[in-house]
C-alpha cells in the first residue's frame, strides 16, 4: 500500500546577514538571522485504523517546523609577525525551534531498563519545540518514608524543558611561534536538557546489595528507601551545557634534516581532552536512539559507549 498523495517537504528559508571588518579588517564579523519554515513535514506513520495490521506509511503532516535564530561569527587576526602569529575564531548560534499545527501528539524517547515498561519522556506537540520533555515533576525524597514525591502524586505529566540546545558555541585558535605551532578547537552547546536513563535504570537505589548504585544516592543527606519505585520524572533531567576541548595539536617544525629529507614535522594531537560540564553521564554530546515508531528522540543517555580520548604522535617527512 503506497501513498499516492505523497510530496516533498517544503522549506521556506529567510536569511538576513551583515558582514563587516574592524580594525583595518583584522577582525571580521558576520551576523546572520535565519528563519526556516518547513511545511508538509514527512513522517512515517501508523495507518489510520482500521486498516491493515501494523503497516506504516509515509505521510505529509499538516504541521510546520520553524527554526529561527542568529548566527554570529568573529574571526580575529590578532598577531601577524614573522615569528609569531595568532588567529582566533569564535562562532555562536542562538536558535529556537517550534512545531505548529499538529493534531494530537506523538510520543518518543522510549526508556529502557527495569520499571520502564511503556515509559517515554518526549513529545512532538504543537506550540512546543521538537522533542519537548513531557514528565512528571519530581519534588524530592520524603524524609520520613524515603519515597519520591511528585507534583499531583506523579499521576500527571507536564510539558517542560527543551531537548534542543538554544546556543551552540565554537572556538578555534591557531598560533605559531617560530617553529612551534598550536591549534585548538573547542565546541559546546547550552540551554538544553539531557535525560539520564542510565542513572534511572542502571544504578538506582534498588540495586543496593546486588549491583552498582550511583554514588550520589549513597552519599545523599536524605536516605532513599529501597522500595522507591523506578519512575521516569524530572529527577533524571540534567542540564546539558558543556564546552569540550575537541582537539588540540602541538607541532614543531624540524625543517630540513638531511639531504634527502627536505622537511620534517613532529606533532602531538589530543582529541576529546576534557569536557567542562555538570552533566553526570559519560558525555553530554549524547544521543542514544530511543525512537518510538520512527519518531526520533533527542538527548537521551542510556549506557552509550564512553567517548574515547585519543592521543596521536605524528611524524611527517617530505622528500
Amino acid at each position: 500500500m503506497g501513498n499516492p498523495d505523497l510530496k516533498w517537504e517544503t522549506s521556506a528559508t529567510t536569511n538576513i546577514g551583515l558582514d563587516f571588518g574592524l580594525l583595518k579588517r583584522k577582525v571580521n564579523v558576520s551576523v546572520d538571522y535565519f528563519s526556516k519554515l518547513t511545511e508538509d513535514v514527512l513522517f512515517e506513520l501508523s495507518f489510520p485504523v482500521p486498516g491493515g495490521s501494523s503497516a506504516r506509511i509515509w505521510k505529509n503532516l499538516p504541521a510546520t517546523i520553524k527554526n529561527s535564530g542568529i548566527e554570529l561569527a568573529v574571526n580575529a587576526n590578532l598577531v601577524s609577525k614573522t615569528d609569531f602569529s595568532w588567529n582566533l575564531g569564535f562562532n555562536a548560534t542562538f536558535l529556537k525551534n517550534m512545531l505548529e499545527g499538529l493534531n494530537g501528539t506523538y510520543n518518543t524517547g522510549a526508556l529502557h531498563g527495569q520499571g520502564t515498561t511503556g515509559a517515554y519522556v518526549q513529545k512532538l506537540a504543537s506550540g512546543y519545540p521538537l522533542n519537548v520533555y513531557y514528565l512528571r515533576e519530581y519534588m524530592g525524597i520524603d524524609k520520613t518514608t524515603g519515597q519520591s514525591v511528585y507534583k499531583e502524586d506523579g499521576d500527571v505529566s507536564y510539558f517542560g524543558k527543551d531537548a534542543n540546545p538554544r546556543t551552540l558555541l565554537g572556538l578555534s585558535s591557531e598560533m605559531s611561534y617560530k617553529k612551534f605551532g598550536l591549534v585548538i578547537n573547542m565546541n559546546g552547546a547550552m540551554g538544553h536538557y539531557l535525560y539520564n536513563n542510565t542513572a534511572q535504570s542502571v544504578v538506582p537505589i534498588t540495586n543496593l546489595g546486588s549491583r552498582n548504585v550511583a554514588s550520589s544516592l549513597v552519599s545523599a543527606s536524605v536516605r532513599e528507601d529501597l522500595s522507591n519505585p523506578i519512575t521516569s520524572s524530572t529527577r533524571f533531567l540534567e542540564k546539558g551545557n558543556y564546552m569540550k576541548m575537541a582537539n588540540m595539536t602541538l607541532s614543531y617544525d624540524l625543517g630540513r634534516i638531511t639531504k634527502f629529507v627536505k622537511g620534517a614535522r613532529v606533532s602531538l594531537t589530543g582529541q576529546n581532552l576534557f569536557v567542562i560540564t555538570k552533566f553526570t553521564g559519560f558525555d553530554p554530546e549524547v544521543n542514544v536512539d530511543k525512537n518510538i515508531g520512527g519518531i526520533p528522540s533527542n538527548g537521551i543517555e542510556y549506557i552509550p559507549y564512553p567517548t574515547a580520548r585519543r592521543f596521536q604522535l605524528n611524524f611527517n617527512f617530505s622528500l
Binding site: 503506497g2 498523495d5 517544503t10 546577514g17 485504523v49 500527571v156
Partner: protein, 518 residues
C-alpha cells in the same frame, strides 16, 4: 574605530526541493499468494485470523480487561515497591487520572480496530453465507468496546481500495449502536445454533445485541441515561431466545472457569478458545490468576492486582461465589477458588511465607502505593479462572465472554428499567424471581432477597460477574462510576465516562475529535 567596509546582504529564498515523484515501495499486502490459497484467497484462514485477533485483546491483563475492571471498584493494580509501578499506568486507571497517552488504552483502541479490519477482510473475499455472518458478528464484537469506551468508532466499510488516502469514517453514540444492531441482526439468520465455544453462534450474537440494547440509553447520554421500554423489551426477548437453549447454572460456579470449562462449563454462551494442544489461545486465561497470585504460591504468580475490601464486603459468608475449595486446585496447591484473604497454605496445610519471610497473609486493606514491609501481601487476591496445572502457555481455560447468569441479570435489569416481564424456562417471571433463582441456586447458596430493585441487581452483577470485564460498563449504566470509592477519594469529572481518544489516533485520522474534557 573605523569600519573598513560594511556589507548588507538580505535574501529570501523559497526552495521547493522537488526532484522526483516520491515513489513508495510496497511492503505489506494481503494477496491471494500469501493467504494460503493458490489463485484464490483462503477465506477460512482469514476467518480463523479474525477470530484469533481477539486473543490479544481479551487474554491479556492490560487490554480490555484492564479498561473495564481497573477503573472500577473491583480491581486495583497497586505499586509494590518497585514492582508494578510501570510509571503509574495501573494507578491512573483506578484513580481516574488517565490521559490520551495512556499506553494500554492506546493499544486497546488500535487492536480493536485491527480486529474490525480482519473481519472486514473476510467479508471482502467471497465468504460463504455462514462465514459472512461470523465475520459480521466479529466486526460488531470489535466495534462495540470502542463505542462503549470511546464513543467514536472508526469504521471502514471495505478492506480494499486505497487505504492511505481514504480515511475511516467515524460512527458515534446512537448511530454506532444502531449500526452494530443492524449488523448483528443481519448476521443471526446465517449463524449456527448452540453453544458458541470459540465460534460465533446465534446466541452469541443475541447476547451481544442484549448488551447494545441495554446500554443504548447510555450511548445516547452517558451522564443521565434514560432507557426506552422498546429497547428493554428487545433485551428481554433476546434473553428469552437464549434461555430456551440448553444452558444451566450447573453444579459448581467455578466449573465455568476451569481449564476444561469448554466441557464442564454449563453456562457458557460465547468464549474465546484456548487450546494448548492446538496452539490456540494466546496466553489463555492465565493472566486472570497469575496477576494476583504471590510468587510463593503454586503457580508462582506475578503478585500484582487485588480486589478492594469494600467490594469483598458485598458478599455474604455463605456465598459460594466468594470462594472455597475446588478439586483440582485446593488439593494441588492449597489455594481456594474465589477470593484469597488471610493466611495462605500449601496443599499439605503448611503456612506459606512471602519473600521477606512474613506470613503470606493477604490483607483486606490495600493502598495504591505500597512501600511498607508488608507490601507483598496487601490486598485480597482473586482466583476466578482455575489455574491450569497441565499447561501454562496457553492455559486451556477458554476465555468466557457471555454466560447464562449475565443474560439472566440483564433480563432482570431490563424488566426493572421498564420492559415487560416474561416467564421463560425455570428462572421465573419477575426481576426478583430471576435474581433469586441465581442466588438460591445450589451453586451460589445464598438466601433470596426480599426486594429486588436496580441497586440489588447492580450488587448482584458484581457478586456474579466480578473480574469478568463488565464492571466499568455496569457502573456507568447504574450511575456509580464517578462516585468516590476506596482508593478514589474524589468524584470524577464527567469526562471520565469516556476514555480519551488516543493521541496517536488523533494525529492520523482527522475524522476523530478528542472527547470533551480531555
Amino acid at each position: 574605530m573605523k569600519y573598513g567596509k560594511v556589507m548588507l546582504v538580505a535574501s529570501a529564498v523559497l526552495s521547493l526541493t522537488a526532484c522526483t515523484k516520491l515513489d513508495e515501495k510496497l511492503k505489506s499486502e494481503t494477496t491471494s499468494g500469501n493467504t494460503g490459497g493458490s489463485g484464490s484467497v483462503n477465506v477460512s484462514a482469514l476467518l480463523v485470523g479474525a477470530y484469533r485477533s481477539f486473543e490479544g485483546l481479551y487474554m491479556d491483563q492490560a487490554r480490555i480487561w484492564a479498561a473495564q475492571e481497573h477503573s472500577s471498584d473491583e480491581a486495583v493494580g497497586p505499586t509494590r515497591g518497585g514492582d508494578w509501578d510501570d510509571n503509574g499506568i495501573w494507578r491512573v486507571y483506578h484513580n481516574h487520572k488517565w490521559t490520551a497517552d495512556h499506553d494500554f488504552l492506546t493499544a486497546t483502541f488500535r487492536q480493536l480496530a485491527q480486529s474490525q479490519f480482519a473481519a472486514t477482510t473476510v467479508l471482502d473475499n467471497n465468504p460463504s453465507a455462514q462465514q459472512a455472518a461470523e465475520a459480521k458478528f466479529l466486526r460488531a464484537f470489535a466495534m462495540w468496546p470502542v463505542l462503549d469506551c470511546w464513543d467514536q468508532v472508526p469504521y471502514r466499510p471495505t478492506s480494499t481500495g486505497d487505504l492511505t488516502t481514504t480515511l475511516p469514517e467515524v460512527k458515534k453514540g446512537t448511530a454506532a449502536a444502531d449500526f452494530i444492531i443492524s449488523e448483528l441482526n443481519a448476521a443471526i439468520p446465517n449463524l449456527p445454533s448452540g453453544r458458541g465455544l470459540g465460534i460465533a453462534t446465534k446466541d452469541a450474537a443475541r447476547a451481544l445485541l442484549m448488551k447494545v440494547y441495554l446500554n443504548k440509553g447510555v450511548y445516547a447520554n452517558r451522564e443521565t441515561p434514560t432507557f426506552a421500554p422498546a429497547d428493554m423489551n428487545q433485551v428481554i426477548s433476546l434473553a428469552d431466545q437464549i434461555l430456551a437453549g440448553s444452558y444451566s447454572l450447573g453444579t459448581n460456579f467455578f466449573d465455568n472457569f476451569a481449564p476444561n470449562n469448554d466441557v464442564i462449563g454449563s453456562e457458557l454462551i460465547y468464549t474465546l478458545k484456548a487450546d494448548n494442544g492446538a496452539g490456540v489461545g494466546g496466553n489463555g486465561a492465565m493472566y486472570s490468576y497469575m496477576c494476583g497470585l504471590h510468587y510463593n504460591t503454586n503457580p508462582s504468580g506475578w503478585n500484582g492486582f487485588a480486589t478492594l475490601g469494600d467490594f469483598y464486603d458485598k458478599f455474604e459468608a455463605a456465598d459460594k461465589r466468594r470462594g472455597g475449595n475446588y478439586t483440582g486446585l485446593t488439593n494441588v496447591s492449597g489455594l481456594k477458588a474465589g477470593f484469597l484473604i488471610g493466611q495462605q497454605f500449601n496443599q499439605n496445610g503448611v503456612a506459606l511465607q512471602d519473600r521477606k519471610g512474613n506470613p503470606l497473609a493477604f490483607t483486606r486493606e490495600v493502598k495504591l502505593k505500597e512501600t511498607g514491609n508488608n507490601l507483598e501481601v496487601t490486598g485480597i487476591r482473586v482466583i476466578k479462572y482455575i489455574p491450569d496445572y497441565a499447561h501454562q502457555f496457553p492455559a486451556d481455560n477458554d476465555m468466557v465472554i457471555f454466560r447464562l447468569a449475565d443474560v439472566l441479570l440483564m433480563k432482570a435489569e431490563a424488566i426493572l428499567r421498564g420492559g415487560t416481564a416474561t416467564n421463560v424456562g425455570p428462572y421465573g417471571g419477575t426481576a426478583a424471581a430471576i435474581v433469586n433463582y441465581i442466588r438460591t441456586h445450589s451453586t451460589r447458596g445464598v438466601a433470596a432477597l426480599g426486594t429486588v430493585d436496580l441497586n440489588a441487581v447492580y450488587d448482584e452483577r458484581g457478586r456474579e460477574l466480578y473480574w469478568e470485564g463488565w464492571r466499568r460498563n455496569d457502573m456507568i449504566r447504574f450511575g456509580k462510576f464517578l462516585a468516590p470509592r476506596q482508593l478514589k477519594p474524589e468524584t470524577s469529572g464527567v469526562e471520565r465516562l469516556l476514555y480519551p481518544i488516543p493521541n496517536e489516533q488523533l494525529t492520523i485520522n482527522p475524522n476523530l475529535t478528542q472527547n470533551p474534557g480531555y
